[in-house]
């Protein structure tokens, strides 16, 4: 991945549930700490756009999908285990 490219995460949620809010807080926190300003987090609420669930093979909520860099990676859950998330996303 080139240095000026941004990490891109899609967080799939279904309404503002505690688990989803926690997941968003967690990924924002980890990204801020390790990726500085070089990241984008897109929040997709499937209650509003249910048709998007099929494309990314979403069945669990919340699901975080790493869109960039490739390959696609998925982490499901509230992302509370920091080490696991960082490892799963290859952030370090």
């Amino acid at each position: 991945m080139t240095t000026d490219e941004k990490w891109e995460f899609w967080l799939y949620i279904a309404g503002q549930t505690p688990k989803s809010i926690l997941a968003l807080e967690n990924i924002t926190k980890y990204s801020e700490a390790h990726l500085k300003a070089k990241y984008i987090i897109e929040v997709i609420d499937l209650l509003k756009t249910p048709q998007l669930a099929e494309d990314d093979q979403i069945f669990a909520i919340p699901t975080l999908v790493r869109k960039v860099p490739k390959p696609l990676k998925k982490i499901i859950g509230d992302l509370s285990n920091k080490e696991r998330v960082l490892m799963g996303l290859n952030i370090r």
């Binding site: 249910p50 093979q57 285990n81």
Partner: protein, 498 residues
């Protein structure tokens, strides 16, 4: 049954036989669990449920596949004559594959399966689905670690499906000690169906059993079922009621001399006849006569020949003046030949059932039924034959079965006669005796329901022109074999009512 329907409405599956044994189908708006080993036909049954819903009841369906892709599924059922692409195009069917790749997914912390619910809901609403299949939801367990979450979410899903009011089939793989690996049967309390695929004496047999069906009467037996080019069909056991309408019409046996032995000059239409005898007693000739006569009346004949190929049968019969060939060409006569050991008895009966539905014959001949009977235990055989008789009576089909049994031989098992003789209406015994250095052929009527018959043992000969029944007096030796106290006089046979 009517009362049940008002309490628990049902959704017809449209699958031949299955609606009969469930008294109308699956519980409407509720989940039904179909479990069975790999390859037992769960997916085919489920997809057929959706297709029949679309084509026969105008109920769109959603297929959520946890295993096969939509493409694979479409290809797999094409051989069954189901064109999924067409009904997908018509927005009657939606297939959504939920792919759970363990290698792609990490789990950390709490989650739920709301994404699956949303997909399912979206799919249902997009086409107005009334029927749903989840095949096989247990795949989630191999992709995800947190079984606690999965269990409670699956429980919630079933509840959600009930609230949504869709009639659902959930498939599950058979576990070691439980019906499904993950014990899904605990969550589905409405209707549970078990499919079984086993090999007995090298013959593959599929069976279906209703394990439970809340609030409904249902058959409790194991029902054999068949998967062929038309999908699944289940053979229900007898209707248990003997309420077929019967006919008083008489049809000829095909042999003039034999007709004369019956008081009314032949068999009743819809009658079942058993012809027994040892090898070479001309049972097949008698059967062929009957077939020929049916053809002459322009009535369709389905001839199951388990010992001779169609060509062989036609040729051999032409030697004794029975010319069946023209009727084969005009499709009045259809001969099915197969080795009995190719399938189990019940599979033969199932395929017979199917041929009856499709060909709609007036007459059926099974030659010999004894070769089917060597498969399976006595009890099974009887149950199967009872089913067969029932099917035939229901369709007013006149039938003739030959049965090989060698009374003199030591290894005579006696199964066929015993199993079948009480079920048939007419029983004719054929014999071959060696007296004074020559063989004498003879036949007599053992029973004939609803009709008086001759109790003579009639000698007969076979010539180039067929069977000729003699009117003479049988010899002393033969008379000793006469059943009962019947005495015979020239030209004036003693009649006894049965």
């Amino acid at each position: 049954m009517k009362q049940d329907n008002t309490v628990f409405p049902k959704t017809p599956t449209g699958i031949a036989g299955l609606d009969e044994i469930t008294n109308g189908g699956f519980p409407k708006g509720r989940p039904t669990l179909i479990c069975g080993t790999a390859g037992s036909g769960k997916t085919i049954l489920a997809i057929q449920f959706l297709i029949k819903g679309i084509t026969e009841y105008d109920e769109p369906g959603v297929f959520i596949s946890f295993e096969e892709s939509a493409k694979d599924l479409t290809q797999n059922v094409r051989s069954l004559g189901f064109d999924l692409e067409k009904i997908i195009g018509q927005k009657k069917l939606k297939i959504d594959q939920v792919r759970v790749e363990r290698s792609e997914i990490q789990e950390t912390g709490e989650y739920d399966l709301e994404g699956l619910f949303i997909r399912l809901n979206h799919a249902i609403d997009s086409i107005g689905a009334k029927r749903v299949v989840l095949d096989t939801i247990e795949s989630l367990f191999s992709g995800l670690n947190n079984t606690g979450i999965l269990r409670s979410e699956i429980r919630r899903l079933f509840q959600w499906l009930r609230e949504k009011g869709v009639t659902t089939i959930i498939t599950g793989e058979r576990g070691e000690t439980t019906l499904t690996r993950q014990g899904l049967e605990e969550y589905v309390s409405d209707c549970v169906i078990l499919l079984d695929f086993r090999v007995i004496e090298q013959i593959a047999t599929r069976r279906l059993r209703i394990v439970k069906y809340r609030g409904s009467t249902h058959g409790t037996n194991e029902y054999p079922f068949l998967i062929d080019e038309d999908g699944v069909s289940v053979l229900p056991i007898t209707s248990l009621k003997l309420e077929h309408t019967i006919s008083a019409e008489i049809i000829s046996t095909g042999v003039p001399g034999l007709d004369k032995m019956f008081d009314k000059g032949g068999y009743y239409r819809g009658n079942s006849t058993l012809v027994t005898g040892s090898a070479g007693t001309a049972k097949t000739i008698l059967a062929a006569y009957f077939a020929l006569n049916s053809c002459k009346r322009e009535e369709k004949v389905l001839y199951f020949s388990f010992e001779e190929s169609p060509e062989q049968l036609i040729r051999n019969m032409s030697f004794v003046g029975i010319h069946l060939k023209p009727y084969l060409a005009s499709k009045l006569l259809v001969i099915h030949s197969s080795r009995p050991s190719l399938h189990g008895l019940e599979m033969h009966l199932l395929s017979l059932h199917k041929h009856i539905r499709e060909f709609k014959p007036h007459t059926i001949i099974i030659d010999p039924i004894s070769s089917l009977i060597t498969i399976g235990s006595k009890g099974e055989v009887r149950a199967m034959l009872a089913r067969l008789m029932d099917v035939l009576k229901m369709h007013h089909i006149t039938s003739l079965f030959t049965s090989l049994n060698d009374e003199e031989s030591l290894n005579y098992a006696g199964v066929p006669e015993e199993a079948i003789s009480s079920l048939v209406d007419t029983w004719i015994r054929m014999r071959n005796e060696e007296t004074d250095g020559r063989r004498i052929r003879s036949l007599y009527i053992v029973k004939s329901r609803g009709m008086g018959h001759s109790s003579e043992i009639k000698d007969f000969i076979i010539t180039d022109n067929g069977i000729e029944i003699m009117d003479g007096v049988p010899s002393k030796e033969q008379r000793q074999h006469t059943p009962g106290k019947a005495e015979t006089f020239p030209g004036n046979g003693t009649k006894q009512k049965s």
